[in-house]
């Protein structure tokens, strides 16, 4: 049988307990489920035993590349890593760009399913179809950067891509991420902890193969066309110049960033100015880089040359880094934010999930619920960079108070008690990344996200765009897509973006090149065109959006099987409902009655049961997943 177009062709299964490797074709599952993310989610659902803790060795950790990854589709480089979520017990996933995904496909694989636990630390080495489990005792305890450096020194092959965990993953901190190419973090849901629980330090891959597509010339022409269209766009130009931090000022101006553990929603003008000036001046930026096959190039290499953080360097600082350190923890020195981000990358910490419990501890300290004695002698004062540096290290090594904070704010507050539970800001148990009070569609997507509190599963950015209602009607069939504080029709908008985001995860196209972050970019029609030319599967844009819908049902099925999530789990943290925003939308909050109605509308759109927030057996059949009914 010849290999289907565009895909790697095989699924690699590695059982670390038995030390066995098996390889099977991807095609049969691609016929049953949406390729890429859909098959990933099925493998997770099918392979995760009921009733086991997230870190149980039997659970799978699944690495997946998008269907268009490895081709010149602009920005199609992404991989998704899924597991049972360490923080929620439900569906968990994380996404990363870089070069690993394409290389894995050139080696012939679409997915890697890792189960079991090695007796000693190991890494998996993939050289095309030749896969070995190799001792990594000498790498254990090392940072992600050191591990990567040593592996590169040891392995001599023409092309080599790596991903690894740091001390945080080894010590199974729930905030541990997986570092891809040392600069791209697959963050959230504790994916790094799951990898650590398997005694798996790293994966190395070298692929000598090539991907064929259905219509080579037509596909090339279409890719170049999309690339040129993308690069003519002003927002994309800003991404290339400044990276995603170019949007930080805008978020703060709208009063919509998390400040001091979500007590406020806007940082003061002086602090904001310190950050936005450095961004605008490109003070630390040396050069723009791109992930594999990306013409947008939002990944700036930055270097701090003087001052207390001189020597700091690295790539891929996001607006989120400024929310996490600048907003949540009150650190306004941009060089310090870079230094803290570098430390997270080295330790293998996801900055969002690591900073939330720190912000919680700071607020507890502010309110007298935690003392310096409880915190290994540290004074937990807002904005103290040295304390945050120390706490990040303590989390990664589970030292002292770091052991409490390493499981996230929800678990830490449960352990501490003293009324601190009110200050653990989370969704479904996972620390919250974003402010929710102002943008209503944004808030809905975050609250209902199957992964637990994330804007990357349907969070519309349109509410930040100052555009005309007519355009909203034309593009989305509703008048309010650009109307930030309006609840009306936001359920429709969220359903649209949930499908679209899942479609992007199916293909591996980066969100920053799409309709998500600007309307003159890659939309569903473009995806359908590229997908058809590459795979030969001529689905329409609408049909592909319904593939995205199926992915959501697979995740829902996982949560129905493994958690008690219900309607109550889809309500925002109490703080978002009772304490109003600050800044230009002062007084704005999420109103309970409005939220009740919004949830009803959201469930109604899919015909789900309003009381439980769950789909019916009929819903699963209707969407084309009868096996889950």
């Amino acid at each position: 049988m010849t290999k289907p177009f565009a895909i790697g062709g095989s699924i690699l299964r590695v059982d670390l307990t038995q030390s066995t490797v098996t390889i099977e074709p991807t095609a049969p599952l691609n016929e049953r489920f949406p390729a890429g993310m859909g098959v990933n989610n099925w493998l997770l659902l099918d392979g995760t035993p009921v009733g086991k803790e997230p870190l149980d060795p039997e659970n799978p950790l699944i690495f997946t590349t998008g269907t268009l990854v490895g081709t010149p589709t602009p920005t199609a480089c992404r991989m998704t890593i899924s597991c049972k979520n360490v923080m929620t017990g439900g569906f968990g996933s994380a996404s990363a760009g870089g070069n690993f995904g394409p290389e894995l496909k050139y080696a012939g694989f679409d997915h890697i399913v890792v189960t079991g636990r090695a007796q000693r630390p190991v890494f998996i080495d993939i050289v095309d179809g030749d896969v070995s489990i190799v001792d990594a005792a000498d790498l254990w305890g090392e940072t992600t950067w050191e591990a990567e450096k040593r592996l590169r020194a040891k392995i001599d092959r023409p092309t080599l891509e790596l991903l690894s965990i740091g001390p945080a993953g080894e010590n199974v901190a729930a905030s541990a991420c997986i570092m891809v190419n040392r600069t791209r973090a697959a963050a959230r849901c504790g994916v790094g902890a799951v990898m650590g629980s398997k005694n798996l330090k790293a994966i190395a891959v070298s692929g000598s193969g090539a991907l064929e597509v259905a219509d080579p010339q037509g596909f090339m022409d279409a890719c170049l066309d999309v690339q040129r269209h993308l690069m003519g766009n002003e927002t994309r130009k800003n991404l290339r110049k400044f990276g995603t931090p170019s949007s930080f000022g805008g978020w703060n101006d709208k009063g919509s960033i998390p400040v001091r553990n979500f007590q406020e929603t806007q940082i003061d003008a002086e602090a904001a100015n310190a950050i936005t000036t450095a961004v605008k001046e490109k003070r630390y930026i040396e050069k723009a880089f791109g992930c594999f096959s990306c013409p947008v190039l939002c990944s700036q290499f930055q270097r701090v040359k003087e001052g207390p953080y001189a020597g700091t360097r690295g790539e891929k600082i996001e607006s989120q880094n400024y929310w996490d350190f600048g907003g949540k923890l009150g650190i306004s020195d941009p060089a310090a934010v870079l230094a803290l981000s570098e430390l997270c990358a080295r330790l293998g910490l996801d900055n969002t999930n690591a900073t939330n419990p720190i912000a919680w501890a700071f607020e507890c300290f502010q309110r007298g619920l935690l003392s310096a004695d409880d915190a290994d002698g540290l004074n937990l004062e807002w904005g103290d960079v040295d304390v945050v540096l120390e706490l990040l290290r303590k989390i990664a090594y589970r030292e002292g108070i770091g052991d409490l904070l390493a499981d996230g704010s929800f678990a830490a507050a449960k352990k501490l008690g003293r009324g601190s539970e009110r200050f653990a800001i989370h969704m479904k148990g996972q620390d919250l990344a974003e402010e929710m009070r102002v943008f209503k569609g944004w808030a809905l997507a975050i609250a209902v996200a199957e992964r637990g509190g994330t804007h990357t599963q349907g969070g519309p950015l349109t509410e930040r765009m100052d555009l005309e209602p007519e355009l909203s009607m034309e593009r989305f069939g509703i008048p309010t897509a650009f109307d930030s504080t309006n609840y009306e029709h936001k359920a429709d908008l969220v359903v649209y973006y949930q499908r679209f985001h899942n479609l992007l995860e199916i293909t591996g196209i980066c969100f920053y090149a799409t309709y998500w972050s600007g309307l003159h970019t890659i939309g569903p029609e473009d995806v359908a065109r590229l997908y058809g030319l590459a795979t030969g599967d001529k689905k329409t844009a609408a049909e592909l959006m319904m593939e995205g819908e199926k992915v959501l049902y697979l995740q829902k099925a996982f949560n129905m099987r493994h958690t008690t999530f219900d309607r109550a789990s889809d309500y925002p943290p109490e703080r978002m409902m009772s304490e109003p925003a600050t800044g230009p939308h002062a007084g704005e909050r999420l109103d309970r009655a409005d939220w009740d109605r919004l949830l009803d509308q959201y469930y109604d759109l899919r015909g789900w049961d309003r009381a439980s927030g769950k789909p019916t057996a009929e819903n699963f059949r209707a969407v084309g997943l009868p096996e889950l009914a």
């Binding site: 450096k149 040392r182 090539a210 880089f289």
Partner: protein, 87 residues
């Protein structure tokens, strides 16, 4: 046949030229089938564009895209890091 001049200082390590080149040679997409290697040092933010022109290495040598309208890698590079120079 044109030769390809490289400007490492501009290169963003996106590998689009590599994909274009593998398409030129094989009508398929991969790294080993291309006559270009992009070698990135992530620690220092540096990158080197290597054009392979020696068939002895077992890799395909650059043929200057003789049968194409223009050198594909040059057309595809989003930052102008590659130039075709007629000899």
């Amino acid at each position: 046949m044109p030769t390809i001049e490289t400007r490492n200082d501009r290169c963003a390590a996106c590998n689009l030229c590599v994909l274009a080149c593998s398409f030129h040679h094989e009508k398929a997409f991969g790294r080993r089938g291309a006559s270009i290697d992009i070698v990135k040092n992530e620690r220092e933010g540096e990158v080197e564009i290597v054009i392979l022109d020696d068939p002895q290495t077992g890799r395909r040598a650059c043929d200057g895209c003789v049968n194409e309208e223009a050198a594909l890698c040059v057309t595809w590079c989003p930052v102008g890091a590659l130039l075709a120079r007629e000899n």
